[in-house]
């Protein structure tokens, strides 16, 4: 009566095989390594790898593996000292074309990676790093847009020679324009309605004056806010890339929050500065007499011009630009990359606000046939080595990112064509969009964990799991003898399964997550305790051992299910309402409950059946 069919054993063996396979990568640890990412796709990865290897060989630094994955070159080292030294060397040699970051790359063997078996991802509290939660100022996003409308309205009315009293933003987040007579207002109404379809326009008459009231509809407001959060995330991502952080996490949380996690970053002051960097764009005419530039790097620019380095060698090392700025980047409303309908080449579509369009139209009308440059300006704090000392200074980077010929006078919408390839177009659109933050960011939560602390947390958490585990195992073996040993096998298997599932999900393991595992170990034996206690009862009631086993498992089942489902409900609620650390705990607890149901019921029964199921003359059970 206590026999499982063969397929059940095969199923269990299969589950064990999969569990062990996916839990395995966690045993291999990590290699100290250096990752090199090209800045904005400037250099090819194999080229970077070659240069890096040359530099390392030259200095006699031993590395044991290099590899190229999607967007980075990874070089592995034997020791942390070597890793740090190599990172410094590589950043110095490879220069500004790349960002070099320290990384701890999983030392998972290739055959495991080929089946997508990866180790668990350690949370910041275990590996050290910075966690920021930032709040996007949504009201500011809307009020900035209102101000822009106000400016645009003024310019448009002036341009169309419509006389107006004043245009302002009122307390109800509306743009109101006052006119002295109805005809002017009528014209303005028609004009604005045609130009700004997204706005709700109303007319009003009071105190003998004529008002035009523009309000932003709710959906449009939501759109503005969504856009603001998205753009801020894009901007932050770009900036974090500048920081040289391995595996940063930048995610939206809720409607108006952004989470930034920078593993391994200790200097929060620097991180905050970089995140808060301001970047902008300028459009200037190229000095055609000196284009392309043939002078030396330190030649002074001709009078009335400025000299900027070029990001792209296509435009030479330097480009001489006219001193006068045609337009600044704050007029850019949107930028997107696309395909030029005529040539099939990549292009970037740019949309300016109406005020920007006017300025741009005037400026470009006089310059048809000439070249215009897009300059990227960024202010940031930089740390560098000088005479053996670390020096910090504010650095203003000004770079020409694009030079293009003006084909015809440009207005609110124009295209930049003649870009190298689609990825260059995408990058440029991104940069244009991500030049500045769309709305102010406030850091509302910060959690920093030092690296030694992270290491300590791992060791302590691991120790707690091991000791707790060993104590439970000893107790079970002592109290339930052979059956206790069987339960212990299930406990070990349960631990393997939890680790395997966490690895498969690529869930983040945090300290509360370890606590969840520890708690599961304590509670996982509960199912077996229930079963064994029941078997003892049945034996005491005079049932034969075989019957007692059968009846014990059968009767305990509904109790185990009820008890575990209620705990699962609690874990689920924790997950739904909780954030970060609480969720981590809830996830491991839920996984633990589910896997323990399998190991404690099916797993132990399989072993019990295997040992006792065929013994017809079984007279007593070692329980």
């Amino acid at each position: 009566m206590n026999r499982y069919p063969l397929w059940t054993y095969l199923l269990i063996l299969g589950a064990i095989g999969v569990g062990v396979l996916y839990a395995l990568p966690n045993l291999f640890g990590e290699d100290p390594s250096v990752q090199i990412t090209p800045v904005r796709g400037a250099v090819e990865l194999p080229e970077i790898e070659r240069q890096a290897i040359d530099a390392l060989d030259e200095e006699g630094m031993d590395y044991f593996a290099t590899e190229i994955d999607e967007e980075r070159v990874l070089i592995r080292f034997d020791s942390q000292d070597l890793q740090v030294a190599a990172a410094d060397l590589l950043q110095a040699r490879l220069g500004n074309e790349v960002t070099v970051a320290l990384n701890l790359a999983p030392a998972t063997p290739q055959w495991l990676r080929s089946v997508y078996a990866e180790p668990m991802y350690l949370g910041l509290d275990l590996r050290g790093g910075v966690h920021f939660l930032m709040d996007v100022d949504m009201d500011a996003a809307v009020s900035q847009r209102l101000e822009r409308y106000q400016n645009d309205f003024r310019n448009l009315l002036r341009q169309e020679r419509i006389r107006y009293g004043r245009v302002e933003v009122d307390g109800d987040n509306r743009v109101v324009a006052r006119f002295n007579d109805a005809a002017d207002r009528e014209r303005a109404f028609d004009l604005l309605r045609g130009e700004y379809r997204e706005l709700g326009l109303d007319q009003e008459e009071r105190d003998g004056q004529y008002w035009l009231i523009a309000n932003i509809p709710e959906e449009e407001k939501e759109e503005i806010q969504r856009f603001a959060v998205q753009q801020n995330i894009t901007t932050l991502r770009n900036r974090v890339n500048e920081l040289g952080v391995a595996e940063p996490v930048i995610q939206q949380q809720g409607t108006n929050r952004i989470v930034v996690q920078l593993p391994g970053v200790q200097d929060t002051a620097r991180a905050k500065e970089i995140i808060g960097t301001t970047a902008t764009l300028e459009f200037r005419m190229v000095d055609e007499d000196h284009y392309p530039y043939r002078g030396e790097a330190d030649d002074p620019p001709p009078p009335g011009t400025v000299k900027y380095p070029s990001r792209n060698p296509r435009y030479g090392d330097y480009v001489i630009l006219e001193r006068e700025v045609m337009l600044t980047g704050e007029y850019i409303i949107d930028a997107s990359s696309g395909i030029d309908q005529e040539t099939g080449g990549p292009e970037v579509n740019i949309r300016l606000s109406s005020a920007g369009g006017d300025i741009f139209h005037r400026a470009t009308r006089q310059n048809v046939g000439n070249s215009m440059a897009v300059v990227f300006i960024e202010t940031r704090q930089e740390t560098r080595e000088q005479n053996g000392e670390t020096v910090r200074e504010r650095v203003r980077t000004e770079e020409v990112i694009n030079v293009a010929t003006i084909q015809e006078p440009l207005s609110t919408r124009f295209r930049i064509t003649g870009l190298e390839d689609t990825s260059a177009a995408r990058d440029l659109a991104l940069l244009l969009r991500a030049g500045a933050l769309a709305a102010p960011l406030d850091i509302i939560e910060e959690r920093t964990v030092g690296p030694s602390m992270g290491q300590e947390n791992i060791e302590r958490g691991f120790m707690a799991v091991v000791i707790g585990f060993v104590l439970v195992v000893l107790f079970m073996a002592f109290y339930y003898r052979v059956f206790g040993l069987i339960a212990n096998m299930a406990l070990v298997l349960n631990l393997v399964f939890i680790v395997a599932v966490l690895s498969m999900l690529q869930a983040t393991l945090t300290l509360p997550g370890i606590a969840g595992i520890v708690l599961t170990v304590g509670m996982a034996v509960d199912a077996n305790v229930l079963i064994f206690q029941r078997i003892r009862e049945e034996l005491a009631a005079g049932l034969s051992p075989q019957q007692a086993i059968h009846s014990g498992y059968a009767k305990a089942l509904s109790t185990i299910a009820d008890a575990n489902i209620t705990t699962l409900i609690a874990a689920l609620v924790l997950f739904l309402f909780g954030t970060g650390p609480v969720q981590g705990f809830a996830v491991t607890l839920s996984i633990g409950i589910l896997t323990s149901m399998f190991t404690a019921i099916v797993g132990t029964r399989a072993v019990v059946n295997l040992i006792y199921g065929r013994q017809r003359r079984l007279t007593r059970l070692p329980i």
């Binding site: 850091i443 959690r447 602390m453 439970v472 370890i514 305790v529 206690q533 003892r536 705990t567 609620v573």
Partner: protein
């Protein structure tokens, strides 16, 4: 080895008035403590900044406090955290703009006095986040209790559901009382532990109720009280063994897991103890007080069940 040589026959129901009195007194004390002393809410809920620093040598907290005072952080609370080489500095929430720069200033200030100071951990939580968390925490607790109530009502009966929730509220209030008594910092992880206690204590209670349900069908002769008594006696070995194994791991977590996790572990230790007590003495007594009788919970297919129950006893 057996905890009880055979199923014990202890008169738990007879002690229910005494146990009820003890519980009421303890609940009164806990509520009193919560009102008078309150909970020591951590910065997760109040907002503020916590900076944890490590020193190569043991340091005097008073000296650290002095250094902070000199640096313009007079409101900082400094205390040893774990060992004498580690100090935790806590600053209240600030309204001013540069609250986020505060942690950097604190470290700079300390670095002037102690060049070897090592930053171990920084937590800054804005006041708005704190408010949200308090709200979310309360919601999570109510949500969990509500869902559990529904499930138990569905699986058993509404009076069992009410009794199990009564036991849960009893446990949560008592644990909160102990947290208040010991002034343990109530942060997110402690909240998680509290919810785990809810899950755990419920687990215990459900096991007992499950047996009560089974025995209502099987024991036709006994009174309701006798059935409850038998059920508790039959499950007590399991209750104690499971509590013991769970305690083994949470105590090892408390002793070895480090300071960050100690509040969490301590809450669980208290919760497991209280939960074990309540599933033995409070839950069933509450169900009885709610008017549960052995005629409840008898499934419609009563006849078949009876035969099954009697048939089993007849087997050799």
């Amino acid at each position: 080895m057996w905890l009880f040589k055979k199923t014990p026959n202890l008169d738990f129901m007879g002690w229910r008035r005494l146990a009820g009195l003890v519980s009421v007194i303890l609940l009164g004390l806990a509520v009193g403590l919560l009102v008078v002393r309150g909970l020591n809410f951590g910065i997760d809920f109040t907002g503020g900044t916590v900076v944890e620093v490590g020193f190569p040598e043991p340091v005097d907290v008073a000296a650290v406090r002095g250094a902070l005072d000199g640096g313009g952080h007079g409101d900082a609370v400094a205390q040893h955290f774990g060992t004498a080489r580690e100090v935790m500095i806590r600053l209240g929430p600030r309204e001013d703009e540069d609250a986020e720069a505060l942690s950097n200033q604190v470290v700079e200030t300390l670095r002037d006095a102690y060049p070897d100071v090592e930053l171990r951990r920084v937590e800054f939580v804005g006041p708005q986040v704190g408010e949200e968390l308090t709200e979310q925490g309360a919601l999570a607790m109510l949500g969990a209790l509500g869902c559990i109530l529904l499930y138990v009502a569905f699986r058993f009966e509404y009076r069992f559901a009410a009794a199990s929730v009564a036991a849960l509220v009893h446990d949560v209030v008592l644990v909160l009382g102990v947290l208040s008594l010991l002034q343990i910092s109530f942060d997110l992880s402690v909240l998680a532990a509290l919810l785990a206690v809810v899950g755990y204590s419920l687990n215990d209670t459900i096991v007992v109720f499950d047996r009560i349900r089974e025995n209502f069908v099987r024991m036709r002769k006994g009174t309701t009280e006798e059935v409850l008594n038998t059920s508790i006696n039959q499950t007590i070995s399991r209750t104690l063994v499971t509590s013991f194994t769970t305690l083994l791991v949470v105590v090892s977590l408390y002793l070895l897991g480090g300071e960050v996790i100690s509040g969490f572990a301590l809450t669980l230790i208290i919760g497991v103890l209280v939960g074990t007590y309540s599933s033995i003495f409070v839950a069933s007594a509450s169900a009885l007080a709610m008017g549960v009788t052995k005629y409840d919970l008898q499934p419609p297919a009563k006849e078949g069940e009876e035969q099954e129950a009697e048939g089993e006893k007849l087997r050799p």
